[in-house]
């Protein structure tokens, strides 16, 4: 196993251990996400006097909300973990990894995507059960699209994570951006086509095609998939470059150990 895979496997193992050992935190997160969903769903239903029309109908809301919750994890995990490591005192230790801090942080993102996809699948099932709308759960088609969508938003998370290391107090910006992300999944792309350049929107649209319209990954437009791949790569690369920039500032100013 290569050194990078060893590192990422170690991070995944740590993530799973902590999630199992502190399962109450995981359950609380699921509960909060579920309550928020019911508020959005039944609120939208009451306003529209029937099936809400935001983001492609009832099923669209479920998919959009599922993508948003997972995106929040992908987006928040980098900065939240970095802040936690800095606060508890382990940041300097991981910053001394011969594999580089960026690769350690990419490991946060990948292990969080893997574990949270499993955890949030329960939320998805719960949402489908409450609304009575059962979606197409073609795992082979969904997983790659979900991975690409979340990795793309992870690029934004890298920028925020880098800023958190240097500027420390970025929680309020994080919270505001979480709400902004919700807009990316509920605004219809056919009405606002430029939105597809933002993270989440293109992936959400493809996931809607698979989960709502029942298509497989082979039946969605290849150009849209190619666009999602390029979009994800662009956000991830920009995020990694920005993170490297902030890391250099932190090392120059000696900020890695102070919180």
């Amino acid at each position: 196993m290569s050194a990078t895979l060893t590192l990422w496997a170690g991070e995944l193992r740590r993530n799973i251990i902590q999630m199992k050992r502190y399962y109450f935190e995981t359950l609380s997160m699921l509960f909060v996400f579920f309550v928020f969903f019911t508020l959005i769903f039944f609120g939208a239903k009451a306003i529209s006097g029937g099936a809400p029309r935001i983001g492609g109908g009832l099923e669209g809301i479920i998919v959009g909300y599922f993508v948003w919750t997972l995106a929040m994890v992908g987006y928040g995990v980098v900065s939240e973990n970095l802040v936690e490591e800095a606060t508890t005192g382990t940041l300097e230790q991981i910053a001394m990894s011969p594999l580089g801090l960026s690769r350690v942080v990419l490991g946060y993102l990948i292990s969080a995507i893997i574990t949270q996809t499993v955890v949030l699948s329960f939320l998805l099932i719960l949402m489908m059960a409450v609304t009575g709308k059962w979606l197409n759960l073609d795992v082979i088609s969904i997983l790659p699209l979900l991975l690409l969508t979340t990795l793309g938003i992870g690029g934004v998370g890298f920028v925020m994570g880098g800023m958190a290391v240097v500027f420390k107090r970025t929680r309020s910006i994080l919270s505001i951006l979480q709400i902004v992300l919700l807009a990316f999944v509920v605004v219809p792309l056919d009405r606002y086509p430029m939105m597809k350049y933002l993270p989440l929107a293109a992936g959400n649209r493809l996931l809607q095609m698979v989960m709502v319209e029942g298509r497989s990954i082979l039946q969605v437009p290849p150009a849209d998939v190619a666009f999602l791949v390029a979009n994800t790569a662009a956000y991830l690369v920009v995020g990694l470059i920005a993170f490297g920039y902030f890391e250099r500032i932190a090392r120059r100013k000696g900020l890695l150990g102070h919180y």
Partner: protein, 333 residues
């Protein structure tokens, strides 16, 4: 327990330095104090298998120096070579040769068990925990953590957490280890225990260690050589034994019969710097440091002039703490 260091160069062997620092400079801009020279032209080398003590008062620049070597702080200028690798140009390769304990028990994951922590830090260094299983097991035993191997680190005593933090540095098997205040906050007994464990580990592994501590007993016991830093500059770089011998040779205690007459006391204080006279109705003691050997005879002549009866003359036995204080205060020349 054999490490890369042990395989490459046994303790005490002469070879190219594991760590070579040249003209290291780091300046911070402080709102209150303006530009602060945290490290100001520090240069030294550490030979394979050597245990070097880094001493200095708070704010002297020890931790900044260590963090520069650990690549956590980028210096303004100077060079750092770790096993010949330029740590400024190639930090990742340089850190593959080193591990550090920088914040004691805060350097571990409190939500993981002892064993899980060791496995995780092995993985962070790119070593599969399964391949490192025997090393992990021997560290658990060496640091006497067998009974708590499956306990969450947060439930351990501070001493055990500190031991685990040090074990997590050793698990990487690097030739160079930086230990910044490894016994900070420990009670006397635990500090003594950790010191003994470190001594044993150093002897067995042959690793090169840079140790920074305010605990002079730890430094005196583990290190053969010390560097003393003050105001960002190296003020002393010598063997511990040389420093102790130097101060021993300079410091005398003379015991006299009867009290010292006031006229003699005045004459002594005006003739000799850093002299201390204590007396009661039966005896007197004179503690003095004489940089020039000839001055000793001046002292004896002066006592003879006042008909003082000398009971005994001893060379004082300073400890490293005393030596350190005198160097930092600028009393030693």
């Amino acid at each position: 327990m054999k490490t890369e260091a042990a395989k490459g160069a046994p303790p005490g062997s002469v070879g190219s330095p594991v760590l070579a620092v040249r003209d290291l400079v780091k300046t911070y801009r402080s709102r209150r104090r303006g530009l602060v020279n945290a490290v100001d032209g520090v240069s030294f080398e550490v030979a394979p298998g050597e245990v070097l003590g880094l001493l200095g008062p708070n704010g002297a620049g020890k931790t900044t120096t260590i963090k520069c070597m650990c690549t956590l702080i980028s210096p303004d200028s100077g060079s750092i070579l770790v096993k010949g690798v330029d740590a400024i140009a190639n930090p990742r390769k340089a850190v593959s040769h080193m591990a550090a304990v920088l914040e004691g028990n805060r350097n571990i994951y409190w939500r993981l068990t002892v064993k899980e922590n060791l496995q995780f830090f092995s993985a962070v260094h790119g070593i599969p925990p399964k391949r490192n299983a025997s090393q992990i097991e021997s560290l658990i035993q060496a640091f006497r953590l067998e009974e708590v191997r499956n306990s969450d680190a947060r439930t351990l005593s501070r001493g055990m957490q500190q031991k685990l933090a040090v074990a997590c540095a050793f698990v990487k098997g690097t030739p160079l280890l930086m230990l910044d205040e490894p016994t900070l906050g420990l009670d006397v007994e635990t500090s003594f225990e950790l010191r003994a464990m470190l001594k044993q580990m150093v002897a067995e592994s042959g690793q090169t260690i840079l140790l920074s501590s305010h605990d002079m007993d730890v430094v005196q016991e583990l290190c053969k050589r010390v560097i003393i830093i003050n105001n960002g500059r190296i003020v002393t770089d010598d063997k511990v034994s040389n420093l102790l011998e130097l101060f021993k040779a300079r410091a005398y205690r003379l015991t006299l019969s009867g009290p010292v007459p006031p006229a003699l006391a005045r004459e002594l204080e005006s003739t000799f710097e850093s002299i201390q006279v204590t007396s009661d109705s039966h005896h007197s003691a004179i503690d003095v440091e004489l940089l020039d050997g000839g001055r000793f005879y001046d002292l004896v002549d002066l006592l003879r002039k006042f008909d003082a009866e000398i009971d005994s003359i001893d060379r004082a036995d300073p400890d490293l703490g005393e030596v350190f204080l005198r160097i930092v205060r600028g009393e030693a020349r």
